[in-house]
Subunit: 346 residues, 4 copies
């Protein structure tokens, strides 16, 4: 059994990690970390865990935790993991960081968009960007994983094959993203109260959202050019789910079949990426609770653009599920272990 | 492997059966029955099943199905199962009927409340009321299970110990029930459109709901008296979940500890019934996607009444999950096989 | 023009007062009070008021306010109004208090259920319980109005005629109430976050909710007996709306027509109470945004009980709308002035 | 009093017309047309109208209606109005058509995108596109109004000033639109059931939605060029509201102030278009129930694009409210008569 510690287990992503790991055969959670609920029973914070989890919450102490477990998940705000990371820790345990701290390799870009100083840039080079479908081999050997952001995971998987194959103009990419509210975290803010979010739709962080440079960096790695994109996230009155609608200018005329063949070729061996059939739009309801990303596209010959769409559960493939997928790879387990969750509808 | 056929697999309960059985180790679904979607791919009806279920829908033919499978689930409207049931079928397969056809033993009561003729009353005596926590031993030997209604399951499990122990006046019971919209089925009705249900709360079937006599019959079996109750269901703008709030007159003063001891005694060995701690109200969010029923109570000394509460996922313990629990018992499998689903929150 | 000041104008009830008063012909709002947003533009707190309200928020200073306006609405937490009230204030302005401070005449009961000391019990006798349909004549002459609670308004109007007429046993009354989330206020609490409330249903304050003694006192005034009731509120995932489902034991057999005649008789001249026709259940969607209370009932001969139902917008008839109705009466305006709001659906 | 007849009064837009016109001082509704509910009391179809509307529904007969009223609103599916329109009708009454029949001047485009034959193309030239802020003077003189589509209204008002001023490349416009569910109509379809829409987000009609050519035609009229755009609508789990997020390539560098000055100049005299301040994103909650369109923009210097945003209530400014605004203009009433509805929040 792999011994797991979770730092930040009382946020939405942390709790989702617990839900998934409890159903994972090879894992035992031994540490429920929390800054806000120290010594409180975990099942009092999340009553769904009543009679399932008996443990109480421990302080978010990474140093100590490293002596007790095989792998640490940090489901914490940006800055935390970078602040406490040491070679000593990495020599003892594997770390999968669900925050943004090691995602962006360019430290200046990180500091500019996040507005905080990076406290352990030395580990940036070692940290592997944990988008499993991209970096599978590197992940297997990694000690430190930067688990991708929710929007970037959905965006990159939806668009990547067409960039890689040179189908679309890279300076034409516009990503209009929509997310459920769990992505906003469990902090007590007026803006996230039920009555503020329900019966409402809005854009936020327009042209300034921090997932923008993360997506751009990955696209730049693919194209070996500097890619800049427009990225606009929106808040949708639903608990879970991300939908992205992306627009790209076609370099030349392509047929449906040509593009479909590309997506199929890239993803035929990827269990968690489902290339939908013609006329099936990705919808968040069809992936809820699962680790799937559903992708599809429509070519608009009138405007010579292609519309790329992707749907995903932000807490699973967008956070906890992908983190477990990374863990499976790092520990030599079958990649789908504990993750063959059938989407729950309705 | 147990070969399973589902009649009515394209309703919400049917689809939930598929979701649960796909994650059940000892089962293979070989027949996806449907009246409305014959020959259509199941994953086109429910896109969550894309690349998971490859089969298409078959006609809802019970006779033929009986030759191919070990157990049939009928997730059909009332009247269907009673109309097609034969000794020949039962001699070949076990049947778990999710409809109301065999729940009420008194055929006159059934015909009065449901307004239809019962076409196979001869099987009423044989059919076992599949409330597993009640009738476990009979279920193990049964050929035909009447899977309980959603409201009755939650109501009975929440109230039963106090009736059985003679704590409350049986003629004082009032059940005020609240349900998510999936309980209303997948038929295209104006009343169930998004804009009609969203931002709305209403009672329906006041004093005429068909689950009333089902609950009364079970309570009468316990007390050996004729019990009549008030039962008022309400429609709540959410997908899943049933909450019941029940009121009973106390026969005499009791303490919190005395009542808690009763609930604990009745349910300490029941994995799927969680008696919550003092101050934890049952809430539907904490059981969503799982087979749990959460129960709790509050004694109101001012009025000498006790308020009994229960929360449950109407599609799981209220339908498909309990059906699988019955199947496990009938086939000698561990009762929790495939049902240790951790509630999904949020 | 009546000059109006609102203390607590940045809560949900306060903002609803603003919405209604802006459409009231005889009124001018001159003071937007707020504890949390002093000097901030009101339209920055509530962007719906952009280009409609130009004023900024003032401190919640009742003494000063009394010198500037004709009437003060206090939409504040319990305790505030009782703490600042003086004879001097009342000699200058009329006060309509939307909090609980002057609703309960028995100061011991208030202090017991609210857990705070009452700081101006001397005004309790003078304050008129502002349920307009009850106390119209007293309201016209009042200086100080205790605007009723949301649950009590809906409960009393739904049940009152049958108590007054001696149709039901007064010790048998059970009120199962359901409310939208705006009733919980605009404070930043984890419990009221979107993801905590959405897709959930729960009871709260079981047997301890503070609206219980308010309802009991009013019922006791009607019957001249001590009435105790069971009152259980529930939180429903919707913005607005209260639905109450109440149960009472019938003293003797009554017909539908007899009861309907009673309701009609009591409410035929009441514009804001709509006695629905047979078979029309009260639903919150049909009163949203309006000052109506819709009531109806079902007699259950099997159990000899009557089920009384009422639906209302908690922010209008349950708070701001009724406050304006009181103001109209106090200032000799037509009672419906500014309140003939057609319910908004969907 | 202007006598009004409504054909299609039992759809969501028709009912919203009723709600608005009931609060309009100069109007009397004398005809509640309906195909589905002939002879049924209007208040039985929409219970919010109980004791407010006493009339029953009439057949949708335009010829007869023309003899009884001053103005007819047709809130009907495409094809209806074009099929029944005659010179005789227009010689007797003014007609405001909420359907698409007279919006697109090019009959071939209409027939291609809508897939039906246009039965009265002769009136296309006469019909005025009823976007009041554009065509005010023509509307005043019109007999026949083509009330704009919901998406086009929001899209055009959000983007138009920048096209007119030549700020953005017209072949670069991408409109990503999001709508509440009332836009899908009140027909009984599985796709619009509560459980299918709730907790879901999807795109639909990708590159084929019929509002595309309507927007393009208006943009072409402005620029005197053929404009083609990308338009992608999405369905959002909420009752009301449209949000559009539009992207355009800047022809040259512009400052925030320059663009703000343009919007202000275009809309300073337009009561119903609110140009928000910097940092205030348009959100649907802030316009609900009102006739406002809130617009704003963000310049993204990194990509040299501008993001234009607009929020609106699809049933008000997107349908019934704009229709009434048109009526006011046609009858020489103040344009805002009956339309100064304060947005209802929450």
């Amino acid at each position: 059994m792999i011994k797991v510690g979770i730092i930040g287990s009382t946020g939405y992503a942390g709790q989702e990690l617990v839900r998934i790991l409890l159903q994972h055969k090879e894992v035992s959670i031994v540490w429920y970390g929390s800054k806000s609920y120290i010594d409180k029973k975990y099942s009092e914070v999340f009553q769904n865990m009543f009679q399932i989890v008996e443990e109480s919450c421990f302080d978010d102490n990474m140093e100590e935790l490293a002596r007790h477990v095989d792998v640490i998940f940090t489901a914490t705000p940006q800055g935390f993991c970078a602040s406490v990371m040491t070679e000593d820790i990495l020599s003892k345990v594997k770390v999968i960081d669900l925050s943004a701290d090691y995602r962006i390799k360019d430290v200046k870009t990180y500091e500019e968009w996040y507005g905080i100083k990076h406290n352990s840039p030395d580990f940036l080079k070692e940290a592997v960007y944990g988008l499993c479908e991209f970096n599978r081999e590197d992940i297997k050997k990694a000690r430190l994983i930067a688990n991708p952001g929710c929007y970037p995971t959905c965006s990159i998987l939806s668009i990547y094959p067409l960039i890689k194959e040179g189908i679309i103009e890279t300076d034409s990419i516009i990503i209009d993203a929509k997310s459920g509210v769990s992505g906003a975290g469990r902090g007590a803010k007026v803006d996230n109260l039920y009555c503020e979010v329900n019966e409402n739709m809005k854009a936020y962080g327009v042209s300034t959202h921090r997932h923008t440079p993360e997506i751009e960096e990955q696209f730049s790695l693919i194209t070996l050019e500097n890619v800049t994109i427009n990225f606009t996230p929106h808040l949708v009155p639903m608990n879970r789910g991300i939908l992205i609608t992306a627009y790209g200018k076609l370099k030349k005329r392509v047929s449906y079949e040509e593009v479909k063949e590309i997506y199929d070729r890239y993803y035929e061996k990827e269990y968690f990426v489902r290339v939908l059939e013609k006329g099936m739009p990705p919808e968040t309801r069809w992936v809820e609770g699962s680790n799937f990303v559903d992708v599809n596209f429509v070519i608009d010959n009138r405007t010579n653009r292609i519309i790329m769409m992707g749907a995903m559960d932000n807490l699973v493939k967008g956070a906890a599920g992908q983190a477990v997928q990374n863990m499976n790879l790092m520990f030599g387990l079958p990649e789908q272990e504990g993750l063959k969750l059938v989407p729950m509808f309705p």
